[in-house]
């Protein structure tokens, strides 16, 4: 008999592909939320594998804060072209211009929170009934309670205390008109799993994840990348360092790590030795202990 070895990455991969196919089968108008970060790149890779040789049967959607690393946008456009998937971009700037939200002011101003309105508007406009996201349960304690199929009411809200039980691999995507689902196919992956998978599958990722020289400054113990729209405090000094991104999000709230990691092997070794979570550098999570739970209830990613 043939020996069949299924390692943990293949098992996780199979689970994620199963969830993506359920989405394609149970929903009429799903989108895959794409941020340009490694998790969403892995999601696109899984979606390609799930439906090959057909194309990914749903568009990619990017909620663009306008505060990006340039490399992210280039990478996004290239990947969309390569997969042949439709790319939808919605801009936070438009939501601001429409007067629906007001830009934050002050030194820690970020458009991170404003994205929620842009996202919910897009979901309503485009009649999206399922939005696939790359959220993982190991990222954050409120996310540890997420379902694969996470129900949202007509206001896009999450009710964490009243979630549907999820058993075996049976996913209940039934909903009423105007409601939608957030679906998290890589719920069970850890940061390490994602990197090992990128390594195993040889997935192309933006160079931002590898060491490079960049002008940075330190705020509240976190190194932040300097960008034109960021305000500096008087005592903050800009220096050039060897850094890499551990997560990629809005540039205003994504910390960078001092690192010389040049290859995927280096990154895996670095993560194996690290003692801080990947979101430890995210200013958006530090606003309060339940910052993520509160944002998620309102309809955040």
């Amino acid at each position: 008999m043939d020996k069949i070895i299924i390692n943990h990455l293949r098992e996780l991969e199979s689970e994620s592909i199963h969830v993506m196919r359920e989405v394609a089968a149970q929903f009429e108008n799903p989108v895959l939320l794409f941020s340009g970060g490694k998790d969403s790149i892995v999601m696109v890779h899984l979606a390609r594998k799930a439906f090959y040789p057909a194309r990914i049967p749903f568009p990619l959607m990017h909620i663009d804060t306008g505060h990006n690393f340039d490399e992210t946008i280039e990478f996004r456009d290239r990947l969309a072209k390569e997969t042949g998937a439709e790319l939808i971009v919605r801009y936070v700037q438009d939501t601001i211009d429409q007067g629906k939200v007001v830009e934050e002011t002050g030194i820690n101003a970020s458009r991170n929170l404003l994205q929620t309105t842009t996202l919910l508007d897009a979901i309503e406009d485009l009649k999206i009934d399922a939005a696939l996201g790359g959220g993982r349960r190991d990222e954050e304690k409120a996310r540890a309670k997420e379902r694969f199929f996470s129900h949202r009411d007509e206001f896009g809200q999450w009710d964490p205390k009243n979630q549907r039980p999820e058993l075996w691999s049976l996913y209940n995507g039934r909903k009423k008109l105007g409601e939608h689902f957030r679906v998290f196919p890589i719920s069970n992956w850890t940061e390490m799993d994602v990197w090992q998978y990128i390594y195993m599958e040889n997935i192309d990722i933006p160079n931002l994840y590898f060491t490079h020289k960049r002008k940075v400054f330190k705020r509240d113990g976190t190194w932040l990348a300097l960008a034109p729209f960021m305000k500096l405090k008087d005592n903050e000094e800009v220096v050039e360092m060897d850094v890499r991104c551990r997560t990629i999000g809005d540039i205003t709230c994504t910390g960078v790590t001092l690192s010389k990691a040049n290859t995927l092997e280096d990154i895996i070794a670095e993560i194996a030795a690290t003692r801080v979570t990947e979101r430890g550098g995210r200013a958006d999570d530090k606003r309060s202990e339940a910052a993520m739970e509160d944002r998620k209830k309102e309809g955040y990613f």
């Binding site: 390692n7 943990h8 196919r21 090959y52 057909a54 304690k141 058993l167 039934r174």
Partner: protein
């Protein structure tokens, strides 16, 4: 470095469930496993230290790691199933951490549904209590293949062998009522670390393995059903491109057995026979595929197949019926309505059902059957009969946890109101 990276790629995945209350040391045990395997990070530790201090706790409450929701932290209870992850060089572990109180039976059942192993904690000072029985019964009902009974707080009973032996005998005296083949016992102290990761120096009389060693080495290769080939069709892939003009692939996850190219298969509900032409996974063509792989199968003959159909190995056919006899665990505040109609999901198939009969209820604390009180409310476990609108192709839950399970959905609220295990 090369070896280290490679090593990470060869790990097996073990999913286990724990259930218990604050007092029996469950959080301490999980905290220790996570901490010793470096799955807890400094910023997480700092964050829970801050919260513990703010609440005025005497020591750091590791439960705060898993109790992620604001309401849970405020009330100091676990409301929901929390998933935690850790890995050693041998295995990656997913813990479904569930509350142990009777009002959370539904969460225990949810956590147990995907577990290969259940960790049951017994306080050495109290011995087997009602909660122990409840956890064991749920592990048995949900057919978790392995159970480890950790007799905890051995430090508080002077590491006494007699205490351990008595509890073991107590547990084994009701084990015949359970349907679990592999039950192991480990005397531990989660707080002091005895027999969790390192062998205890305080219990020379115990010759068995430590908890972590057991978790890393317990044989799970035969937990899956490798005999009966089951492939519920999830999605039909038709590229309609020039290159793949005639391609018609059936995408799905193998839920039982092994499939090989050239195998004789039968398709339900049409019951037509054909052979497997290819097993595709992205750009690779596989010769064989097994549970739990997600693949795409193409067939020799052109048969009308859609989502909800099932491709099975011709040598072992599933049962086909519209009259289903099953155990259910009820999840919803609205009780089961006898004669009521519900939607169901079974494998990739959607159907409707009518509840025909409630045979009996099971008391989860005593395992006794109640033929008198047949009102099935939240957290109740009962044996029922249903009639479905279309035939199901299934196996008994004992034979296959995926083709033998279904969920019941209330059509007016769309909520999942029950889990069903087909008898």
């Amino acid at each position: 470095m090369e070896n280290k990276t490679k090593g990470y790629l060869d790990m097996e995945l073990l999913r286990f469930t724990t259930a218990g209350s604050v007092d029996d040391g469950k959080s301490t045990l999980i905290g220790r496993l996570l901490y010793d395997s470096k799955a807890i990070f400094e910023d997480q530790l700092e964050s829970i230290e801050r919260t513990s201090k703010k609440r005025g706790d005497e020591h750091v409450d590791l439960a705060l790691l898993t109790d992620g929701l604001r309401a849970e932290r405020e009330q100091g209870i676990t409301i929901d199933v929390a998933y935690r992850y850790f890995a050693t060089p041998k295995r990656k572990f997913i813990i479904a951490d569930t509350p142990g109180h009777v009002q959370y039976t539904r969460n225990m059942v949810t956590g147990a549904s995907t577990a290969n192993l259940a960790l049951i904690l017994v306080d050495a000072r109290n011995g087997v209590v009602e909660q122990t029985l409840r956890h064991s019964f749920i592990a048995s009902l949900l057919q978790i293949p392995h159970v480890i009974v950790c007799i905890n707080k051995m430090d508080l009973v002077d590491y006494n062998e007699d205490v351990y032996e008595n509890i073991r005998k107590q547990f084994m005296s009701f084990a015949p009522k359970l349907d679990i083949n592999d039950i192991r016992f480990i005397p531990i102290s989660a707080l002091k670390g005895d027999n969790v990761v390192d062998r205890s120096k305080n219990m020379d009389w115990y010759n068995g393995a430590t908890l972590l060693y057991t978790l890393e080495n317990i044989y799970i290769g035969s937990d899956q059903n490798h005999i009966d080939g089951r492939f519920p069709v999830q999605y039909v892939i038709r590229p309609q491109s020039d290159e793949f003009h005639d391609y018609r692939g059936y995408a799905g996850k193998i839920e039982g057995g092994i499939f090989r190219v050239g195998d004789d298969v039968k398709v339900y509900p049409s019951e037509l026979s054909t052979k497997i032409k290819t097993i595709d996974f992205y750009k690779d063509s596989l010769k064989t595929a097994a549970k739990p792989q997600s693949v795409t199968i193409t067939l020799e003959d052109d048969i009308d197949i859609s989502r909800g159909d099932m491709i099975v190995n011709k040598n072992s056919l599933p049962k086909v019926s519209q009259e289903i006899d099953l155990m259910v665990c009820w999840f919803n505040e609205r009780p089961l309505v006898p004669g009521g109609k519900y939607a169901i999901k079974h494998t990739t198939k959607d159907a409707r059902c009518m509840i025909k009969d409630i045979s009996y209820k099971v008391d989860v604390n005593t395992l006794e059957r109640n033929f008198e009180d047949k009102k099935v409310g939240m957290n109740d476990i009962a044996r029922i009969k249903m009639k479905t609108t279309a035939p199901l192709f299934y196996d008994s839950y004992r034979k296959n946890r995926n083709t033998g399970s279904l969920i019941i959905i209330d059509e007016s609220t769309n909520e999942t109101v029950a889990a069903g295990m087909i008898v």
